[in-house]
Symmetry: C2
Subunit: 459 residues, 2 copies
């Protein structure tokens, strides 16, 4: 038997071995990321990222924090269990120690960050993409965008009304809907306002601030085509009004082609019921379309032969073009990508090996290629795409990189299955001007200076 | 404009239209499922399923519960927001109303169920599969199996030691590991004790009790092969001891072939750090292998030229065969499937349309086919497999069904890409006898009587 033959061998060799095995691997630990992306103070929640937490301690050559410092770093309300010197010497916490529905570790404290709008009811919060992994967004960190807050809706009383140009108007309880044939799909939702601060000058500092209005979930629900077929969609019906039960009574016009294609009446997200801030108990899912159309707290669908010209598609969610005309009904989110590591407000501690990683997505189908530049777009290298690469879904890309310590500009450029290539900001502005608010999908640049500081730059 | 032309039209027609459109759709509402699967009372948590919650109210023809009853049904500690009569007339809750990290609705209360073992430290809790959707398991509902409770580990102090038959022993901090090239994979983990109560008589009543020791997550981490290559794996090394930092000091022997194939040192689950009960901050992921080998709170790997014969692979986690010999090292979980709707302890309210759905998986690769029988295995019909169908991953299957009101026996039978077909219990017992505890992957039968009561039967 060879058990228990552990000795305190030559662990000091770890750095040399790493360097030999993978060119020049260096600690990926980073200075603490800022919690608030801009300087406005409007009651955002304090917190520290996992990376920053880890950065405080166990990096190669870094000094351990004293144990006494831990409690202060835990998120508000976290269950603070004592940390034993040797966890093998004391019984652990019991099964179901979190009341039957688990919670994350007391050492984890990533939070969504609220953009400092005038009120917190009409506002948005952004996913901390820099600390994400894989393609699924934890439901608790999915971005939010509400126009009049999150309504509290009893699912036993909620109904969906379907009327207008159908043979038979219908009303569905949640029970009615949930007994119908269902589908599950993994899709991103991106607010068309994502990156809206970046039209002219680099404005927000972190990738959470610049790109945190996109998230991915596994959604489950009933195909919208199923209920339209049940009600007898009339040939004259070409548009559908979708209406939410929130205090904004959010309304958008949906083309019937989309409704009959892949639209879903979603009642579940990541294996359980929708979260309240994602439309509980029912939202419209329009894969690849701008988030605003994917009506939350969905209560009414009305079929018509023309769009409804709601305030959200006339005064808002239109794109002002250089000639003064407003572009309307820009539904599909164009191909886009962003590097999440390294990204703004991080600091690379020293030259050496890093894995560049990020997300790419397209509202028009699958991502087919992501290229990465470390010299501001002079040269490009193709990144590896993490399987599965899914339709209208975040795709994780990765590329090994050795930083030589010289200033660098990191960029990623996504291509989708239509052949569309993500433009530079200059190319986008050439067409769109800078009067637009929505649909900025340009290449994002992260500058790295000789100290390793990573900043949002326009290159 | 056609807005606001809603009138209280012929919604009473809904049942007739549904019947026309989809054969004979009937309410999928169910009597409340039992919270405790068996009659033993050992402090399991009370709770009600979403289905049972909905069943109390809005089913076709069902009476609404009085609003006053709601608070009693909310889970312990839930944030109980008032339910407005008309949510469009009052501002909703603000962005970040859940402290920056969201929570589920106050109306949702699915919980894991703890099997009534003698202590809660050496015990297990089971995923409520009946209320699941899609393939991803919410991290808060992932099954648990602990042998000495959940240790509390500070990630800044945690290290992984790699030694034995390697050129250079190494020690990794979490920072060291997280800077290495990473991969993300969606895989199930199944405890080999899943379904252990069902060898002889139908014992547990719900699918949570019979099959709740399997869950699926998107896992992210470093390939084990990466660190083995860094340390210089020696040719003589054929087995690796993996050791956890819990009070059980859980240890298992892993074949080097698996370690060099698709094993992962996982630090993330469903887009964020591992949950404490899944091994925070580090677990070994061995896709398709029995759960017990996928060591949580991983702290040590030792390479040897023989297996280590730990207690978990000699006195436990072996299969006693009819001839008295114990089968050892049964790593791969064989193909298995189970119908989650309808399933045990539900009640179908009346004859009519239902969508049969469930999960299938195999430790040897992809699921290629799931067949469903409604007559106890006399005839079989192929179910639809929900895309994406992934390697060593839960696969959701669905089949429309019209129940004629006569007694029925529902079964599902999975086939994987090796051609292996899930056996009947009789076929399995023919080979394995009934002295085994682990690795029961037989076809599960749910009996439906003429009242619609669904029970666990051996058919």
């Amino acid at each position: 038997m060879t058990r228990n033959r552990f000795t305190s061998a030559r662990y000091g060799e770890v750095e040399r071995r790493m360097a030999e095995a993978l060119v020049d691997i260096e600690a990926r630990s980073l200075d603490p990321a800022p919690v608030e992306d801009c300087d406005c103070k409007q009651g955002m929640f304090p917190g520290v990222s996992r990376r920053s937490l880890l950065a405080g301690g166990a990096s190669l050559g870094g000094a351990m924090l004293a144990s006494g410092a831990r409690a202060q770093e835990a998120p508000p309300g976290a269950n603070l269990n004592p940390v034993p010197e040797d966890p093998t010497r004391v019984q652990g916490r019991p099964v179901l120690s979190e009341n039957g529905y688990g919670a994350r570790s007391q050492f984890e404290s990533e939070v969504r960050w609220r953009y400092p709008t005038a009120t917190a009811q009409s506002s948005w919060s952004m996913t901390p993409l820099a600390s994400g992994h894989g393609i699924v967004t934890p439901s608790g960190l999915h971005f939010e965008r509400h126009h009049a807050g999150i309504p509290t809706i009893d699912p036993r009383e909620h109904t969906l009304i379907l009327h207008g140009m159908v043979d038979e108007p219908m009303r569905f309880t949640m029970d009615d809907l949930m007994r119908l044939p269902s589908v599950s799909r993994i899709h991103f939702i991106e607010c068309s306002g994502n990156t809206l601060t970046e039209w002219e000058e680099p404005t927000l500092r972190t990738v959470q601030g610049t790109h945190g209005l996109t998230s991915t979930s596994e959604w489950t629900g009933v195909k919208l085509s199923t209920v339209l077929e049940m009600a007898g969609l009339q040939d004259s019906g070409t548009w559908i009004l979708a209406e939410g039960a929130d205090a904004a009574v959010m309304t958008r016009s949906i083309p019937v082609e989309k409704a009959m294609d892949d639209a879903i009446l979603a009642y579940a997200q990541n294996g359980e019921a929708l979260r309240p801030e994602q439309g509980y108990p029912l939202r419209l899912l329009l894969p690849g379309f701008e988030g605003n159309m994917q009506i939350k707290w969905l209560r009414r669908l009305e079929v018509s032969d023309m769009p409804f010209m709601t305030r959200e598609e006339t005064s808002k969610y239109t794109d002002l073009m250089p000639d003064g005309e407003a572009r309307q009904f820009t539904f599909e989110m164009d191909a886009k990508s962003v590097i999440t590591f390294p990204s703004g407000a991080m600091r690379l501690p020293r030259p050496g090996y890093y894995e560049i990683t990020g997300l790419a997505w397209s509202g028009r189908g699958r991502v087919t290629k992501v290229e990465v530049s470390t010299d501001g777009g002079e040269t490009w290298e193709e990144a590896a795409l993490q399987e599965p690469v899914l339709d209208k879904c975040h795709t994780r890309f990765r590329l090994p990189w050795v930083w030589d310590g010289e200033p660098a500009v990191l960029q990623s450029r996504g291509t989708d299955e239509t052949g569309y290539i993500q433009p530079t900001l200059e190319e986008l502005v050439e067409v769109r001007g800078t009067d637009s608010v929505y649909h900025l999908n340009a290449i994002q640049s992260w500058g790295i200076d000789s100290d390793g500081e990573v900043t949002n730059v326009h290159a």
